[in-house]
């Protein structure tokens, strides 16, 4: 009988009220009244700037002066006076009106000038025109792209490959597709700018290890393991990646691959240097590569590679597969010039002896970077006068994480004859002696 029990409880309550001491009742009454007051009083914000009058707001808007959109650039900045190349950037290059031998473009296999490559591009131009007018998802996939992806996968002996229309965007889109906020990436200090941008876009934790120092990497990995044991739940959802470069552009050295790993998940490469085309590709197992087809930003949201450039890349691959001997020739030339450039007073050679792109740095740098850059530029200009085209390695000084020291980059290509290599080496020696002493 519910009502009877209710009544009974009510009776008990009323009895308790009569029996309670007076101060207790008064206290409770005051508390109840206070609560009612708080419930009905208006809430108010902290008095900050919300009491600005309209007139004051208008004044603030009038007074505010932003910085200029771009700060002024000094007129004699070297980047404003580029070297202008008239004609093709091939072995004999015409820079600023002077014909020189090209030691600056990354034309490793000399395919920029190859007639077969040009003929293949021309055939493609005739059939497809120039542009693709759409990203890969919306009728921008041509049969040439599919062919190129197959050929690249076969050449690199992997399951699948995916091509991008711009070399820089390749690695800068691949990294954020896999590594997200909260993941950990171990990357070498000398990684190039594209990798740095990819890491920045991925918002992951970045741990740098000393260049090519496997002991340092191991130390970092062990530290990470200790962290994991402290927090196993977090460790179960954090992915870990290691990013290294095959041939470091900033130092000309090679990563110690056998010590590092027994199988590679993703290889990313650039078709703009040896393959005489534009763009880049990633290759690896299908499980890994297929993910980029939906989440690689530079792939999904950008127009595909023009077919004539894809055809040029296929022909370049053909040439590479038909004459595997050119790689040995290139290696020999690298060794030759590396030896010839040893022992220049004031300049030291940085890079492996078989690396086709290496750096010449000042042995003793003056204190200021600007002064170093100026000295090296002097050397480059005088070499240019003697018909050897060289360039300094350019960096964005404020944006790089670990800025490499200023240097001259020398590129060896298959087309350079032995005497040209000797001449280059002796020219650099002479000029260095004049400028640095």
């Amino acid at each position: 009988m519910a009502t009877a029990t209710e009544q009974w409880v009510l009776v008990e309550m009323v009895q308790a009220l009569y029996e309670a001491p007076a101060y207790h009742l008064i206290l409770e009454g005051i508390l109840i009244l206070w609560i009612i007051r708080l419930l009905f009083s208006k809430t108010y914000k902290l008095q900050e700037r919300s009491d600005l009058t309209v007139k004051e707001k208008e004044e603030l808007i009038e007074e505010w002066q932003p910085e200029p959109l771009v700060p002024p650039v000094p007129k004699d900045h070297p980047a404003l006076n580029y070297n202008i190349v008239s004609g093709p950037p091939s072995h004999k290059i015409v820079v600023n009106g002077k014909e020189c031998i090209n030691f600056a473009s990354f034309n490793f296999l000399g395919l920029l000038d190859n007639p077969r490559v040009k003929a293949a591009a021309l055939a493609s131009l005739k059939k497809y025109g120039v542009g693709t007018c759409g990203p890969r998802g919306f009728y921008g996939t041509f049969d040439v792209h599919l062919d190129l992806e197959d050929r690249l996968a076969k050449f690199m002996k992997t399951e699948e490959a995916i091509i991008y229309s711009y070399g820089f965007a390749t690695i800068a889109s691949a990294i954020p597709a896999y590594s997200k906020r909260g993941d950990i990436v171990f990357v070498d200090r000398a990684a190039c700018f594209a990798i740095q941008k990819g890491l920045q876009a991925s918002r992951s934790d970045i741990k740098l290890f000393k260049h090519n120092d496997m002991a340092d990497l191991e130390r970092l990995l062990k530290e990470q393991e200790i962290e994991d044991q402290k927090n196993p739940r977090k460790a179960r959802v954090t992915r870990r990646f290691i990013v290294v470069e095959g041939l470091y552009m900033n130092t000309g050295t090679i990563c110690p691959l056998p010590e590092l790993i027994d199988d590679i998940d993703l290889i990313s490469a650039n078709m703009e240097n040896a393959l005489a085309s534009i763009g880049g590709f990633c290759c690896g197992r299908s499980f890994v590569i297929d993910h980029q087809r939906l989440s690689g930003q530079g792939y999904c949201f950008s127009a595909s590679l023009p077919p004539l450039l894809a055809a040029a890349a296929i022909e370049a691959l053909n040439i590479m597969e038909e004459n595997p001997g050119i790689f040995a020739v290139l290696k020999e030339k690298c060794r030759q010039i590396h030896k010839a450039l040893q022992g220049i007073s004031g300049l030291k050679v940085v890079g492996e002896s078989f690396s086709p792109a290496f750096h010449l740095q000042l042995e003793e740098s003056t204190r200021s970077r600007e002064q170093d850059v100026r000295l090296l530029q002097e050397i480059v200009d005088q070499c240019m006068n003697k018909n050897i085209a060289l360039t300094q390695a350019r960096y964005l000084e404020k944006e790089e994480k670990c800025l490499p020291p200023p240097s001259i980059r020398v590129v060896v290509t298959v087309e350079q004859t032995e005497e040209e290599l000797e001449r280059a080496a002796s020219t650099i020696k002479e000029v260095a002696q004049v400028v640095l002493l």
Partner: protein
């Protein structure tokens, strides 16, 4: 039931200023009409139901696959790495595995001819419900192309007018193999940059090899920490990536909504940076000329007025509007009759109207000089390939009339005519179309995922018309659409064929949701006099 037909005159908005074009006063008095009709309620309900049922089936299939009852066709991780943390989050891939896979034959369709008004699609079939495809070897020839961004019809197979490209290819080759700062600046690039600046009527321009990278590598060079970026809701991924990489604070305003933008600007200028209350160093407004998913054109006169009042800088991405919008194809500034010098940074791409690839940034000379020194792309990325540069030079000369003919101008006008005709006919038929009546990108709303697949497949296989359909995540979940790109090289017959096919398909799939069917005949009772006009 909301309809948003906005009709306003740009002459009123510019408050009596006389914008000058080539030194002559220019009044642009046209009424601007755009509409974004909302779907009827039952359609929205059914759409969400469809996604719900799809999700349930997805869970069911995942369960079956897990327990081995159903064969799993997806690629899997290596045995040795199975105890690593999984590379992809299971849930992230849920949508891909269970919803996208079923209809993914509508995307990435390979073609084997130039992307002109007619093209050849390679036929592919799948034996295992779209997990793998194989090519039958047959080619579906002469499919009408309503999917490629070929606004002026300049992307076509080789003809004699492209002889200069052949010459450049033979002399220069295909690659450059160096960056702009090092040995990669060719005389072709300088020629191209001068021509682009002349085309846009600004002081200087700089070109880059990829349109996406133009945004993502130059916005960080212009703004940094301590600056504010106000970006439109529906901006392209490249703009969002560039804004994120710059490190500036980003605030988003509602799509094309000047009140929302003004409120953000006022708050920014009055209250400054959050917590420290210091003034912002710079404020940059990021908008696009034409938004390709909505078909809307930016409300430029109002944004310029706001920009002047609050002293912000304006960055317009004219990827879809350069060459396609405006009486001579110079973009949104010309469309509204405004001076291009008033916009701080004009950015665009060469992929859509010029039939090539790459992007540019144009503006005052000090801006372009600064970018030449500090742009990430100029220092680290290869410069543009010479035959591509030549194609852009050829297209620019064609549109500007520098090759001695008026064909370029005729094409721009033909595009405008085609666009208006196409949009008008679609609205008369009763479809829901989004966007401005002058935008050549026409989104037609489909809403339901099943209809998306049916539409695309029916149009290709039965009617031989190639269309592009887009769904989540490029659009909101319930607003899947088909997107047509009208081109100047579409003849009236082709457009009529497409419209007839759309009519039939619309009846078959019941896509005519609009409640404002406009009649083809003008209202006679609005006429004030019935005299014959000669």
């Amino acid at each position: 039931m909301e309809i948003d037909v906005v009709q306003w005159s740009s002459a009123e908005q510019s408050q009596g200023r006389e914008p000058k074009q080539n030194g002559k006063p220019h009044f642009y008095d046209k009424l601007i009409v755009e509409s974004f009709e909302e779907a009827p309620l039952h359609v929205v309900v059914f759409t969400y139901m469809a996604y719900g049922i799809g999700t349930l089936f997805g869970y069911l299939r995942d369960f079956l696959r897990n327990w081995g009852i159903e064969k799993c066709n997806a690629a899997v991780e290596r045995k040795e790495q199975k105890d690593f943390v999984p590379l992809y989050q299971d849930f992230e891939n849920f949508y891909t595995r269970n919803l996208y896979m079923r209809i993914r034959d509508n995307w990435n369709r390979p073609i084997c001819s130039a992307p002109g008004p007619l093209f050849d699609v390679m036929e592919r079939v799948s034996d295992d419900y779209n997990w793998t495809f194989r090519f039958t070897g047959r080619i579906i020839k002469d499919v009408i192309n309503m999917g490629s961004y070929n606004f002026l019809g300049l992307a076509d197979k080789y003809d004699e007018s492209m002889k200069t490209i052949k010459d450049v290819l033979e002399v220069y080759g295909t690659g450059v193999a160096s960056t702009r700062h090092e040995m990669g600046t060719l005389d072709k690039h300088k020629e191209l940059e001068d021509l682009v600046a002349k085309f846009l009527n600004v002081e200087a321009a700089m070109v880059f090899g990829m349109g996406f990278a133009t945004n993502s590598m130059n916005i960080p060079a212009l703004v940094g920490k301590g600056c504010l970026i106000l970006s439109d809701e529906l901006n392209h991924t490249s703009l969002v990536l560039g804004a994120r990489l710059s490190g500036a604070t980003i605030r988003v305003f509602k799509h094309n909504n000047t009140q929302s933008l003004e409120k953000l600007l006022r708050d920014a200028v009055i209250y400054g940076q959050p917590r420290t209350r210091r003034a912002w160093k710079k404020i940059l407004i990021l908008v696009e000329g034409t938004y390709s998913m909505e078909g809307s054109i930016v409300h430029l006169p109002q944004i310029l007025a706001l920009k002047k009042k609050y002293k912000a800088y304006l960055y317009i991405d004219e990827a879809h509007s350069i060459g396609a919008v405006g009486p001579t194809g110079r973009g949104v500034t010309e469309f509204f009759g405004l001076d291009p010098h008033e916009v701080d940074v004009l950015m665009g791409t060469f992929t859509k109207s010029f039939g090539a690839s790459g992007g540019y940034i144009a503006g005052r000379k000090d801006l372009v000089d600064y970018l030449r020194v500090h742009s990430h792309s100029a220092v680290y990325a290869t410069s543009m390939s010479p035959p591509i540069a030549e194609q852009i030079i050829r297209s620019l000369k064609f549109i500007m009339g520098l090759d001695g003919t008026t064909q370029g101008l005729q094409r721009v006008q033909q595009l405008a005519k085609n666009t208006r005709y196409f949009r008008q006919r679609l609205q008369e038929m009763g479809f829901i179309i989004y966007g401005n009546e002058n935008a050549s990108v026409v989104p037609l709303l489909l809403y339901m995922p099943g209809k998306v697949a049916a539409f695309a497949r029916h149009m290709l296989q039965e009617k031989k018309i190639g269309v592009v359909v887009v769904g989540f995540p490029a659009t909101p979940l319930a607003e899947a659409r088909a997107r047509f790109c009208v081109s100047a090289s579409h003849t009236r017959e082709m457009l009529d064929t497409v419209l007839e096919a759309l009519d039939e398909t619309g009846d078959l799939l019941r896509l005519k949701y609009s409640r404002h069917k406009k009649s083809a005949r003008p209202e006679l009772y609005d006429e004030t006099s019935f005299e014959l006009e000669d």
